[in-house]
């Protein structure tokens, strides 16, 4: 006696062995198969014949898997596009809000502080403001600079950069890091170099990690 449920279960296992492993896809194909079998039985076929005909019409697992992989590729491309958009917007919002805070809000707050001090008859030393601005600039700049390698790796992960491109940008990265070292620290060479070295090391680490990822992907391909 033909057991339709068992036959469907076996057929699902064959599809899974052929590379179609997603439950949702298997459920959808099973739903189609059941509709097809039901229709054929209604038109006079035996359940076994109907099942054989329906599985033949469904196609071979290997061919289907290749087509589903193409569909997955389209999904990945879309996700990458969306991620790049999110990344650019996030960076834009961060830089804009940090600049607004530093160039607009901070000077206003410091000036208000002086006036408030004058009201109360307390002397607020002007020299300390320069120091506060330096600290803010330093902390923000360090945050941004140390986040840059993470950003570069995020771009590698979503497919917009690879380690060769990163390596080809090395000379520009060196210049940018030297400028950051000069702008973010006190104006002398030692602190500039002390700042530049870890920044450059982090960028080199990003290039190395990117090349490791690519090698691993090639191994698994």
């Amino acid at each position: 006696m033909f057991d339709l449920d068992q036959a469907i279960s076996d057929w699902r296992q064959q599809l899974a062995a052929g590379g179609i492993k997603a439950h949702e896809v298997l459920n959808e194909l099973e739903s189609h198969l059941c509709d097809d079998v039901e229709q054929e039985v209604r038109s006079g076929m035996s359940v076994e014949q109907a099942f054989e005909a329906a599985t033949q019409r469904m196609g071979q697992a290997t061919v289907l898997r290749a087509e589903f992989e193409k569909a997955d590729q389209a999904k990945r491309v879309r996700v990458r596009k969306n991620l790049l958009g999110v990344f650019v917007v996030t960076m834009g919002v961060f830089i804009t809000s940090a600049s607004f805070g530093y160039f607009v809000i901070l000077p206003l707050a410091l000036r208000a502080n002086v006036q408030y001090g004058a009201w109360l008859g307390v002397d607020v030393p002007q020299a300390s403001f320069g120091f506060i601005c330096f600290i803010c600039r330093f902390v923000l700049g360090m945050g941004l600079a140390l986040a840059m390698p993470v950003g570069l790796l995020a771009l590698v992960r979503i497919g917009h950069l690879n380690h060769r491109k990163l390596a080809s940008f090395r000379r520009y990265i060196i210049v940018v890091n030297l400028i950051l070292g000069a702008v973010l620290t006190t104006p002398e060479v030692v602190s500039q170099i002390v700042m530049f070295v870890p920044l450059q090391l982090l960028c080199e680490a990003s290039i190395w990690i990117a090349s490791r990822w690519e090698r691993n992907e090639l191994k698994h391909a």
Binding site: V25, N27, E28, L29, S31, H32, C34, D35, D36, A54, R57, M58, G59, V63, L64, E67, F68, K70, A71, D72, A74, K75, R78
Partner: protein
């Protein structure tokens, strides 16, 4: 019977056109296409689903699972605004090909 290449090329506009008339599920889409083409358009049934999934990834259609009265669950697809736009573009392209061919064949065979 249509060639495989033509069937593959026409899959997207056919599905979008069917879904623009209302939501539907895989088996019903294939049956309707068979009926409308008088069985001249032949798809391997399973090949419909990668196309549907790709179109969903493009943002042209969306899907939801619905439980039928007999308890069987079916995945229904419906067209989205981007899908309507894609259909309008594809319709224009197919009509262009159709009008050029029609013009050429009219000159040749009439």
């Amino acid at each position: 019977m249509l060639s495989k290449e033509l069937v593959a090329a026409s899959a997207e506009p056919l599905i979008l056109s069917l879904l623009s008339g209302g939501e539907s599920y895989g088996y019903a889409i294939i049956q309707e296409l068979k009926a409308r083409s008088k069985e001249r358009i032949h798809w391997t049934d399973g090949m419909l689903y990668p196309v549907l999934h790709r179109m969903e990834a493009e943002g042209w259609i969306q899907s939801r699972w619905v439980e039928a009265e007999n308890g069987r669950r079916r995945k229904y697809y419906s067209i989205k605004k981007d899908g309507q736009r894609a259909l309008a573009q594809q319709r224009e392209q197919w009509l262009t090909v159709h009008s050029v061919l029609a013009g050429l064949w009219k000159e040749r065979y009439v």
